[in-house]
Symmetry: C2
Subunit: 565 residues, 2 copies
């Protein structure tokens, strides 16, 4: 995309090269029109000659061998989707007469069209392409893919697919630079961020976003009200629909793939937040609340919602309907303000989808474990099963500095219950801005939550990585154990702190028990024994041991006293 | 206890002084005989003049102001319980004629006796002492308190009480020293470890344990088979009942409060582990499996279980019936080997309790989220609701280096379901030995899991800390926010990385949004507005807003299109 960019980031600022023990590879997917698509995977090479392909979000950065190979950051990544066959405009909802003609994944899916994006996604998820189309048509999944962001590799967000994670980046008024933010995007996607949200609130918002978009291999989300607020010098009461609309169009033209819109913060809900322990903690929510109160008028996001839908439909931007009244503390979870807004988001979902716009719904925040499932149940009931996209939630408020962990507990549980995407939380949440290490820890922590949920939901293929890693662990293939993990570098570093010598990585023991005794080795003896005695199935074992059981019955009966108390 | 100790740790090795923003205090509890007991709390002093008392496991170390005040480590802490009135021996189970006479908390509770330990615990937990006695009598809670460990401050482990956490320490053959281990104990209890397990496997096992016991304010657990194995030069097949028994007595005399005994690993279960992905991963389990296979004889722990009960009863040592066949990977969770052993642990529970011995049951390990609740259900059904004590479990295998997090997810969920104590996992799990930082991160992470479960279970008073912290956050009382957290030092450090200046800690904004815009400040405006308009209850709000609603109905109806798709 031809926009000229200030020279604020160079190839040397960017992390490149493969993740330890793996290399980037591509598998071929074929579109319904017979075109071949190259779908990226990260191929983990094992020492036993096998390999495991895992989902890859890192774009070409992990394929570059040197800074010289890096594409020109000022012009950005090649437009992957630029060459793909364009589909025609179709009725937003073919079941409704007079439905507007649009060009969105939702409309195509409803009209039975399988787009190249869907074929690409099916290959990435190792699932049938019909499932992708059906879930998108049903509104239970979204493909955030602005026509003007061809650099992004298509991905899907929906409960039938692998749980996704988002990483927030973005400078604030206090610190950070454009180069920092581009590298944060590369760094976050390296470790597995499926989407990026640029939440910049300070200077250079437009330029920072342009750099990120042109170089991002993943969909990019924004909260347009932040930039609109900058345009009116930070005074929420000075906001207007026109200023907001123009900001949305500006960002749409740049290629933003999904936008958080806090259109459910209605004037009459605002006082519901007054008695809360922590009031309104969403920035967008509080901006709109301030505007509504100051003007004593219903939110312009709500009254102009249809116009907004038509703008988003023109680019196929996905709504992320924001929960401006989400709870900011355990005390406020699932309260009247939160649930009132959720009902309104459900109404808005219907409006957007009737106009062909894809929708997901944002969720909390801070929720104790016993109130988590209810959030998903109500969201699905009221919002027609639109994909749920939650921030954590934190399962307790009492650990500032560890909120990646307090929230990973809630995130894993809410994803198990059906949430489709999790917005990460870093260790700096509530305290400061995340640096490079915080971003990585946040992403890895959320990959853990997402993968745990994939396992619990029985997502096809999810357990294979666990099994491969556990086999490697059992067989003392240390390098494979490290490399199959989410963060091989840290695994190696931790191992080497105790046993740094290279031979230790081939040793059939580890630092936990030392060389003299090892449970894994004894397990191997057990296995050898079982094989030698033909005890290789539960049936054989039970048959084989029946004799032994009889032998022990006498001795055994001595200790089988009646159970008392 | 007069044992002479080698000079291996000095006061200067030990971390002392209060945790930031708090000081140690004592509240008075009165025994049924009218004696006053001083029960420790950590008093967090707030800048608004209030304070919050929280459960304190740190012993006198946080009360010392300088190294000169530290007690003589070679003789150890004063014997807190040494002065307490001794109770008489009573029938282990008064409902069973001929029941042996013992002196255990279980027997006393069954006989209606409220011990000083129970009074102390009731004050610590802020719960009625009758509940403590009833739960102990029912076998649904245990008080691990060896008569020969008077230094320990009484505590309870049971599902009706605050969820507890254990920290494993202990040297291995590869590295670590006695001074390291004593300091690890002090360090772990400083941050909230409710019990300590000394899992030493190398040299100086006896001496290390003596140092730890004499200086530990919390109950200490061990796995006696580890030391027994050392005595036979690391050869499991050379173990005998007599060598094991003598080791148990040696440790009992020293004051160990609870012992892990893998008496459920029966000969006929061993082959069930042969087809597993990760075989037998419990050290104790694999030792006993190796012994059973080598001798083709039933486990001596099982055949001598009653004798073992009588030894433990004499000291009031609590059984922690070990899960030697716990799964070591997601693939092996809830399998035949694990569940066969659990049934046997249930049988042994009955035997132990009939002889007046307190019992808890150890649990996994590695379990995907959807299989976690079943573990608690079966344990409660088969083991007569004996307190469950689990190691995590890890909800996925794919994140070596982050297993404190993979397991905190499982730990929080299994505690919500009724697990009474959680054994921590550090970031070094599977990779190396935890250092000082790892121990702290492990403890804090498990405090998060335990507290999240307390909240979800509605434990009385648990939410007060969340509410106080959230109020402090909302009111920009930064120091209070830091100090009410589980780790004030880290919270301050993270805050100062972005905004180091002292005035920022009083600022009514933070680095996330910067000074120009702040949602918390807008929330305050909302609150002021609501108060000014008398909108201070949901009823008033609804009444007050009715007029406005009517005004917006026309405009509103424009956007309330029928929900389609």
């Amino acid at each position: 995309m031809g926009t000229s960019l200030p020279s604020a980031a160079t190839a040397s600022d960017i992390t490149i090269g493969p993740i330890r023990g793996s290399h980037k590879a591509w598998v071929t997917a074929t579109t319904v029109r017979g075109e071949d698509l190259q779908v990226p995977v990260r191929r983990i090479d094992l020492t036993n000659g096998h390999h495991l392909d895992v989902y890859d979000t890192s774009g070409p950065y992990t394929a570059y061998g040197s800074a010289a190979q890096v594409h020109d950051l000022t012009t950005g990544l090649p437009g992957l989707r630029g060459d793909w066959a364009h589909n025609e405009a179709v009725p937003a909802d073919p079941a409704v007469p007079g439905s507007p003609l649009v060009r969105t994944q939702l409309a195509w899916a409803r009209n039975g069209v399988i787009t190249p994006e869907m074929s690409y996604i099916a290959a990435r998820e190792c699932l049938p392409v019909d499932l992708v189309r059906d879930e998108v048509a049903r509104g239970r999944a979204v493909i955030p893919a602005n026509h003007r962001h061809p650099e992004a590799e298509p991905m899907v967000i929906g409960k039938r697919f692998a749980v996704k994670i988002n990483a927030n980046i973005g400078n604030s008024a206090v610190r950070s630079s454009i180069a920092d933010e581009v590298e944060k995007m590369v760094w976050a996607t390296r470790w597995g961020a499926d989407t990026i949200m640029d939440l910049s609130t300070g200077r250079d918002i437009h330029e920072t976003r342009e750099w990120i978009l042109r170089n991002s291999p993943v969909p990019v989300g924004t909260v347009p009200i932040y930039q609109a607020l900058e345009k009116v010098d930070g005074d929420p009461t000075a906001l207007t629909w026109e200023a907001y609309r123009d900001t949305v169009i500006e960002q749409a033209e740049q290629g933003v793939d999904y936008m958080t819109v806090h259109a459910g913060v209605l004037l009459r809900y605002v006082p519901l937040a007054a008695k809360r322990v922590t009031g309104i903690v969403s920035r967008g929510g509080s901006i709109m609340a301030a505007w509504c109160l100051a003007h004593h008028t219903e939110s312009f996001l709500y009254t102009h919602f249809e116009e907004l839908c038509d703008i988003l439909a023109a680019y196929d931007i996905t709504f992320s309907l924001g929960d401006g009244l989400r709870p900011g503390s355990i005390a406020d979870a699932n309260d009247a303000a939160q649930l009132a807004e959720l009902r309104t988001l459900g109404e808005l979902t219907g409006i957007a989808k009737a106009r062909g716009v894809q929708v997901m719904i944002e969720g909390p925040g801070h929720v104790p474990m016993h109130k988590i499932v209810e959030n998903v149940r109500l969201e699905e009931e009221w919002c027609d099963e639109a994909p749920f996209y939650t921030l954590g939630p934190l399962a307790t408020d009492i650990a500032p500095g560890y909120d990646h962990i307090t929230s990973a507990i809630g995130a894993a549980m809410i994803a198990q219950a059906g949430t489709a995407m999790l917005c990460y939380v870093t260790p700096k949440e509530h305290l400061g801005l995340p640096d490079r290490d915080d971003v990585k820890v946040g992403v890895i922590t959320y990959k853990i939550a997402a993968h745990s949920a994939d396992l619990a939901k029985g997502h096809p293929g999810a357990q294979q990585r666990d099994d491969e890693l556990s086999k490697a662990r059992f067989e003392f293939r240390w390098q494979d154990q490290f490399n199959l993990g989410l963060d091989p570098d840290t695994a190696v570093e931790f191992h080497d702190e105790t046993l740094p010598a290279e031979p230790a990585k081939n040793a059939h023991f580890c630092s936990m028990c030392g060389p003299k005794f090892c449970s894994m080795r004894i397990s191997q003896d057990v296995r050898d024994y079982a094989e030698a005695h033909g005890l290789t199935s539960v049936e054989a074992i039970e048959a084989g041991m029946a004799e032994k059981s009889a032998e022990f019955a006498e001795r055994g009966s001595r200790v089988y006293l009646p159970v008392v108390g």
